[in-house]
Symmetry: C2
Subunit: 463 residues, 2 copies
């Protein structure tokens, strides 16, 4: 089933890395990558290759790959002008280097397809797998390997992020760390002359440290392979895709940008859907989905309840649920009787449960406990509007302990709406691995991702 | 045309305020409102009314309204139990108080419609206008009047925010300040027993300090009046509406929440559209639109250009433009010739203009100048992905000075994608009144609001 996994291992868990085009000059890409490899704590051997250096950043430097023993390099990172790349790839083949990342640009993305294909074919015949060209590299948390020229520090987490866009990928590397989303890996896939999305999906499907896969895609060369790989992978973990080029002009721009054929957007949509991959409309939505999925179990059913301290926000969330096809259940009478004494008389025990602005951490806790204390409710969307009296941090902690109690089988997403205090509560929750959001709609969208995942798995494994 | 404006003045620019039910106990609503009025710097007379106090928060206190001279109170704020409100409203009528805000709850929102209608009718016959009941009050920046029990500090700005939901409104009061969105006014409109959205839209249409109106609405009692008022108002300033209860269950929840009839959602949508008001789907979208509108001129035409330092993000923005019906022009050849020498050879001078990851503040400035140096381009969407080399703050300042130069007639929206540095740049821009966003799609959505406004005004005033 997974023919490629072994091939790709050297990209992620290499015993040794050669950086061809390593530089002593800070700011140069050949310096920054070496520096990131050093600073990230990578434990294998590192060989800078530079004809004019004896040592770079404390590593002994070599004039060429030929100065190293055959078989001693697992991963070559190539950072030299496009015209010199072919020779180096031939060296890689000669030296039995199984994996090479070609950082260099100047290939199909500027119309230089012939050279790119020639290099890919040399590598293919010689047994060297290629990521790139035109990439910013690979980060892989488990190996403590940051073989990119992006930010030095990346927060470790559960999602493998594959990006066809360099600039966007680099910006998002920074962003994930700042926003406390962690990643298990980032792969800048570049022009995909050899390794493509399908290979990586196969690899990450079996990767222990990865529990979800996020792909930014502009186009595919081999749609069928991707469809097959993702159909297999979604049985094990969810795949979220941002596919750009959905518009006519966007497709043109994508084509001039990475030289990939954007194709008919509807074909992509249909294929993703049939494969069970989730297509996000925006970057925000993709990350919201991933966050909900990473921090929650797949629910045991589709019965959702909204709990809120504000009627208006409850209505907005209800609208969004209906729009997304989420099932807000009628709360059974017996459960209503349990909830009624917990909330003020002018609240509502219907769904959404309006606990009123008097709802403090204790009321949130008791109502969530009542709802989950039985088999009727499979997931809760908890909403909190900042009020003068109630400390959002306490409500956050109440929800965190509900999650500790029920979080193995019952998902919860939450929204905290308000100013500084609400935002502090929301950040605290994200740090503590709770799928929290700054608006009600986004908390609903998070739950939608979980319900979608439930439906996928039902389709695969359910009666 | 504007029959109500004069009636409503005392709610916003009262010469004197009586707080009926003022309390000496911190935490009580009757205390918090008085405290906010004091702290906000309101310059008029303030009369706490409390049968058992001589002085509250430094203001001389009175036993009842009857202890004050007839005509001496412009605005009464009523914070007493529902059952006692009718008597006090009768006092207001007797004392010729032109405006009263009934903070108290316990009326139609809990099914107590009869009492609410009775009070409204007493007031109507007696010439006292009512906001509420079941509201958190009114903030009005020009009078330095924070007559709410919400946050003490509110950032002043250009948007009047009318909210039917109390909890959501209070949370957003905090949020607007934290996010540096300013407001000219916040009106918690409550159960709308008298003053409703139509009255307020009429008022704010002529209010100098207000340049846009944002409404959170669950339902209307008199759709026709609102349609007429908003049709008049949009000729002067834009109206953005978040209308909840679009779903069946949401409409039910709205009905139990504020006792208002949500009605058929499609009727609302159609009426808003015909009136020229913009209906936002989410809170985020509403504020994004408002921000773009407040910080930019209405464009002189529909010709939009995207400039970007990342191809991928340019494609995503292009998709969004096409989805929203924005017109990305073909850049004229003469203009292409001007731009070509400003950007690296592997960039693109088509629309989106891909300035490549090498684009620094100078390149952004030169390309924007070239694009605006003629009449072909009416608006620019500028995108920036954080890179290792370029300081986002410098790019932010470059865009700020482009805005200084062209911002009287040409709108610019921007997105800064990335980690800490990008987010700092983005915050700086918002502080400096630039419509900046954290994702490309939102920057496009901001421009969409401006183009929509252009089309509205074309329809009203165009050739």
């Amino acid at each position: 089933m997974n023919l490629n996994r072994k091939d790709l291992e050297p990209f992620f868990t290499p015993k040794s890395i050669a950086v061809i085009g390593a530089s002593r000059s800070p700011g140069k890409i050949g310096h920054e990558i070496l520096r990131n490899i050093k600073l990230s704590g990578y434990k294998g051997e590192v060989y800078p290759i530079n004809p004019n250096a004896k040592e770079i950043l404390g590593f002994e430097s070599y004039k060429s790959l030929d100065d190293l023993e055959t078989g001693s390099v697992d991963l070559a990172i190539i950072v030299i002008p496009a015209t010199a790349v072919e020779n180096v790839v031939q060296e890689c083949v000669r030296k039995k280097v199984p994996a090479a990342i070609i950082i260099s640009s100047g290939f199909s993305e500027i119309g230089n397809k012939g050279l790119e294909e020639k290099i890919a074919s040399v590598a293919r015949r010689g047994g060297t797998r290629i990521v790139g060209p035109n990439t910013f590299g690979i980060f892989y948390a488990k190996s403590k390997m940051n073989a990119t020229f992006g930010p030095n520090y990346v927060l470790s987490g559960k999602t493998a992020f594959i990006t066809q866009s360099g600039a966007l990928g680099l910006a998002l590397m920074d962003w994930t760390t700042e926003e406390k989303y962690g990643v298990s890996s980032i792969v800048s896939i570049g022009n995909k002359s050899d390794v493509d999305d399908a290979d990586l999906v196969d690899f990450f499907a079996d990767d222990n440290g990865t529990s979800s896969v996020l792909i930014y895609m502009e186009g595919l060369k081999n749609g069928r392979r991707f469809y097959e790989a993702s159909s297999r992978a979604v049985k094990k973990k969810p795949i979220v895709i941002i596919k750009s080029g959905s518009s006519k002009r966007g497709a043109q721009a994508a084509s001039s940008h990475t030289g990939s054929i954007a194709g008919e957007d509807i074909i992509y949509s249909t294929a993703f859907k049939q494969a069970g991959a989730m297509r996000a409309e925006t970057m925000t939505q993709a990350f919201d989905w991933i966050q909900a999925i990473n921090e929650n179990p797949v629910p045991l059913g589709e019965n959702i309840v909204i709990v809120t301290n504000g009627g208006g926000i409850g209505v907005l969330a209800t609208d969004k649920c209906e729009q997304l096809g989420l099932k807000l259940i009628e709360i059974p009478d017996s459960l209503k009787e349990q909830i009624r004494p917990l909330i003020p008389g002018f609240g509502s025990v219907r769904n959404p449960v309006d606990m009123t602005a008097n709802a403090d951490d204790e009321i949130y806790s008791k109502v969530v406990t009542a709802l989950f204390n039985g088999d009727d409710v499979h997931g809760i969307i908890a909403l909190f509007c900042q009020t003068a009296d109630i400390d959002p941090i306490l409500v956050a902690h109440s929800l965190l302990s509900s999650k500790n109690q029920y979080g193995n089988t019952r998902p919860i997403t939450a929204a905290f709406i308000g100013g500084r205090q609400a935002q502090a509560a929301y950040s605290r929750m994200i740090e503590r691995k709770f799928a929290a959001y700054p608006t009600a709609e986004r908390a609903v969208d998070g739950m939608y991702a979980l319900i979608t995942r439930y439906r996928q798995l039902q389709r695969e494994y359910g009666k």
